[in-house]
Subunit: 388 residues, 2 copies
């Protein structure tokens, strides 16, 4: 018993030592996050990819930094300012928030991004390959907000449209179009704000790695208007995004912008929920699109079971040769650190493609999870292969 | 002494009664603010124009609604949710925040707007005349974000450009341009986000009350790059917005967009600091602009003293006849509830114009202070008189 106690003591000491030494190991080279509000000093990021948050809350009992599913206790100084650090984070963009005595609130220092079902704080951990999405002295396209009334949903909707550099100069040139969708609990603002789609394309076009194209970023949530009865019953409204895209959005874009309005010059892609949605839309409309990109998602999600091509998506993948003939590029991407069920679910889908002899490109984003750096890299890879 | 005490008691009782009766007078017809995040129930506004905020903060000691310079104590319920109401507010848009145990943070329920030097919460009190800035089923223009590198400031800058409905349809038509500036501690996003400039113009154009025009909304803060010495001394950098506008922004807009690139088709206007800035720019560049709008500001701000036209702005108003000949419209606006020094400062400026025999239009926005409803109304009035 005594021996056991000693071992316990030893372990306790070791843990304490480890905790203490981990804390002292914080490298003091923190710099303000690149996506802070103008002139705001916090949050900050250091070379270990730790985040340091700070906020004045003189009368608070407890303040925490809530990042990546972990709540880190912050410390109060004599002036009532709370400061705390996270463990090292993956490179790229992450949503986060502060927790003040139980209230989850945006950090007043960061810019705000719509994701995780709310407009809230974001932090950028510098990535080794950040040059591809950096703001550089190259010609820049425009990102335009377009408001339209959708008869199918009986509501006003918004989309953002990227037009490439040169679009406004030569008013005869027509351009191919990529329809690019966000993930669940995100909206039409995500791809240009946290996704940096415009900067990625500006850079690709400047280095002649991509064909100049228009990108349309709309909202993947679109529902049939509910009657009073079904609304009262709180029934889940019927999603009609596919119909809105095909019969409202695409005709509107083709009439408002100088597009090349045919399947050879139309691509569709999405991330996570958007990958799932756009894969179904692609397979139902191979006469509308000829390029597909699925970033961290496939239409069998969340299943990891083997796929029977004769029944999956009404047998759309049954005739592999026909699929190869119709689809110019079938592109899939995934981060190497993505959680379950993404690797196995996408794995099952790839196995089905292999079995059907369907050609595809598969890309893995190193050291990233189900987050925006994965999708920025996917867009960078995918866009460079379009319309060529 | 006893009598005195009784009076004091009586007064105390009366005050308590008054406080209590004021509280019971809150009308329970609160509805979610029209500028909340999707599906967020709070903040709310009632028919008395009171704001009700609500936030879960189970471990907080004190939570306040901080609106219009007043901090209203909120009450905690058994679930740890704090709720509180403001006094009645003016109609229109207001910035606000929550205060949790001394921490000033955005309300997680509202959309965020850049103003008061931060991106933070906004609330919309329905205005009696809100139809003129409402989102309606009329043709909508685009609001495009344009990124450019400014050599003069050695920095990347952004501007938003409103192009009217029809701009993308007929690619031969050229349009007049209004350069429209924000106020202090605001930025280029203000006029389309909280100002609703795009919706105001969409509605004016749909009812044929305004000539279709392009509106350029840039950032009024532009500084000469500092050398290390002056930066180390924390010297105030030199503002060069006038130079940036005249030599970088206007040529860029005239090359990227189908403008009518002459003074007859160029207007300039601004609110508060922007009114002051643009008035100086207008008077220095009467060969560039022919219409001027000053919303809640003039170039003599903050002075309320009589103006000597022979010296003010280097005598630019000395020759009233020449000013009348050059400037097609000189337009000034003010809210009836604006605080000191605006009424007297703008009053002194008007007196000078009268003395010089300079023609101008003067508009007063009823029951609004130095806030966005004043400026929305100013834009509505001003834009309807341009380019005719």
């Amino acid at each position: 018993m005594k021996r056991f106690l000693n071992i316990t003591l030893l372990i306790s000491c070791f843990c304490f030592e480890a905790g203490w030494s981990q804390e002292t190991q914080i490298v003091e080279d923190f710099k303000p996050s690149t996506i802070n509000q103008a002139d705001k000093q916090f949050p900050q990021v250091n070379s270990q990819r730790r985040v340091r948050a700070s906020i004045a809350a003189p009368n608070a009992n407890k303040v925490q930094l809530d990042l990546g599913g972990v709540k880190y206790d912050m410390r109060k100084d004599e002036n009532g300012v709370w400061t705390g650090e996270s463990n090292p984070q993956d490179e790229g963009f992450h949503y986060y928030q502060l927790n003040i005595d139980g209230a989850s609130v945006p950090d007043p220092g960061s810019l705000y991004f719509y994701g995780a079902g709310r407009s809230g704080s974001g932090i950028e951990i510098p990535a080794r390959d950040q040059e591809f999405f950096a703001l550089k002295e190259v010609p820049h396209g425009l990102v335009s907000e377009n408001i339209y009334f959708s008869k199918l949903t009986n509501s006003f909707r918004h989309c953002f449209i990227y037009t490439p550099p040169g679009y406004t100069d030569n008013e005869k040139t027509r351009y191919p179009v990529l329809y690019l969708q966000h993930g669940s609990f995100e909206d039409e603002s995500g791809w240009s704000a946290q996704g940096r789609a415009n900067l990625i394309l500006d850079n690709l076009i400047a280095s002649k790695q991509a064909t100049p194209m228009i990108i349309v970023m709309d909202n993947g949530y679109a529902y049939k208007p509910q009657n009073k009865e079904s609304a009262a019953k709180k029934e889940r409204p019927e999603s009609i995004f596919e119909e809105v895209l095909i019969t409202e959005i695409i005709p509107m874009i083709d009439s408002k912008f100088r597009t090349l309005a045919n399947r050879e010059h139309r691509a569709i892609a999405g991330l996570s929920m958007g990958a799932n949605q756009t894969m179904r839309i692609m397979m139902n409309h191979v006469d509308t699109f000829s390029y597909y990109g699925g970033f961290s998602g496939t239409a069998n999600y969340p299943s990891v079971d083997p796929i029977d091509a004769s029944t999956f998506l009404e047998g759309k993948y049954k005739d592999g040769k026909a699929v190869n003939k119709k689809i110019k590029l079938f592109w899939l991407g995934l981060g190497t650190k993505e959680p379950s069920p993404f690797p196995k679910s996408i794995g099952a889908f790839k196995t089905m493609l292999d079995q059907q002899g369907i050609k595809y490109v598969y890309y893995e984003s190193p050291e990233t999870a189900h987050e925006w750096l994965t999708w920025r890299r996917c867009l960078y890879q995918f866009a460079s292969k379009l319309f060529k």
